[in-house]
Symmetry: C2
Subunit: 333 residues, 2 copies
Amino acid sequence: MVDWDSYRRPAFEKAQQLLRGVAHRTPIMRCRTLSEMAGCDVALKCENLQKVGAFKFRGAYAMIASLTETERSPGVITYSSGNHAQAVALAAKLFGTRAVIVMPEDASGVKLSATRGYGAEILQHGFTPQERQAVATRLADERGLTMVPPYEDPRILLGQGTVFMEILEQEPHSEVVLVPVGGGGLLGGICAAARVFRPQLEIYGVEPEVADDWARSIESGRIVRIATAHTIADGLRSLEPGKTPFPIVKEVVRGILRVSEDQIRRAMLLLLTRAKLVAEPSGAVAVAGALAHSQRFRNRRVVALISGGNVEPSTLTALAPLPSGCPADSSDR
Amino acid sequence: MVDWDSYRRPAFEKAQQLLRGVAHRTPIMRCRTLSEMAGCDVALKCENLQKVGAFKFRGAYAMIASLTETERSPGVITYSSGNHAQAVALAAKLFGTRAVIVMPEDASGVKLSATRGYGAEILQHGFTPQERQAVATRLADERGLTMVPPYEDPRILLGQGTVFMEILEQEPHSEVVLVPVGGGGLLGGICAAARVFRPQLEIYGVEPEVADDWARSIESGRIVRIATAHTIADGLRSLEPGKTPFPIVKEVVRGILRVSEDQIRRAMLLLLTRAKLVAEPSGAVAVAGALAHSQRFRNRRVVALISGGNVEPSTLTALAPLPSGCPADSSDR
């Protein structure tokens, strides 16, 4: 059961106000080649150009901003190996409070240094998300820190839902929004916002077919856990939907689209060479979905959400050579 | 001598009106790391996100739009191996008129196919710009086509100058604008616009130190021809300043900054990994200039113009590995 009272218009408007002048109002871009290939009007909502390079900053900042002084001043804690870690670290820094991030023992030096660069204290523990979550929960208790989870909190979802409010302002005539889905914070926030602000707008989640926990769960009507999630899209390696977003998504979403690993790579390359935008693999799945499921959206006005742009250069270089029909030195915006 | 009557306020306003709803109003972006490294507030004006992936579309479209029907209907012609070719091809296509582009015999297949993709007729002739220009001039006469040169026409400069008008609207408090300079169409247009709209705003050109025809020419007060221009910045390989923009730039510009090839590569990589933006080498020189000449701009409000994003993936891949202090999977916007 969803407590819909947590997701009413004033709550979203408050989140938007908290983020005003802090989070970027990210631009909408278009790429003619992409729209022609998809057979529909594709507008790109560029959350890869958000602070910390991903939408995650919205939820982390909105939640930390809405804490009481008593909750915030001792510091915040989270568990993440990716964009959420940096989002919490930066948001905490902006409030002058401490951030503790539990990261895996095998986290890359690059990710550790990026998170540390925002002034966060990093604890490396275990290898699985479950281990990290357990340690973070225990530390929160022991040290009196406030947990800022990646998606299991309505305040996080309200922050992510502000993306939808911006889309409505920037593209008031859009008919479909395609959203990458991993844990479900972004898709859940957008579904909750769509229910309030524009229920007739069609929301779809997009995920790798080799990590299709959401598609299976929505299809069967209950949370299904998958065994593995070996995808290039490192932000979408969830094994099961989050408990907070799942019932919201279940009620609102029109479907979850699957895309192949090759389709994700091609979407990244298309964004890089034609739209001049860096998307991380997780960030490119909505574009991949627009291309792979184009018959479904023929001639419609589609917004594809680019959720993040944090990618290792080595991943970009592995994308070349170009697929056919994708000249390198041109753009058709 | 400059005929300043060609560059008055109504002429710029007309160019802006011609481009309205056709050219993109490209966004301004910021990257915290970049500003911190430069020691000043760096705003990125993203003409790499312009149609055809470069500012060139503004000038080409503005000029073709201001032709009489008699001039336009037989078709237009130009000589270019790069972004101007695509800009003329697309602008002609939008007006339903023919475009003939004279390109070098050794033009890459990728550039040929990109230009042909906009429906232009391509003639390959010679290897030097002089040869191409001679052929194009002769063909224009023979076939009654109208020449749309890369920078030797006030109507081209008026179109490029609209970038400056947008900068004033988007960043009214900016104090310095850094502009890549090759032939001088963009810098000339911006200097002419600055003279009209905000003369106290400081304009600097930026060019590769191994192709410093502008720096030498401005320093000596007359057009100086250099012997070679072996730079990665393929759009800035001019051997001498254009005759139309030179006297305008000479009167307005505060200086021409030189950057090394390595500084250009580092600026490209910084834009890619931190700002999530694809810049071509020529497009990244203004950012390189902000970093290389940071003592000059300490604590000031600087706009760095990213002039284009059309780059071969192989050039991007050659940028890795990362220089130190530039983590890959993060962004500090």
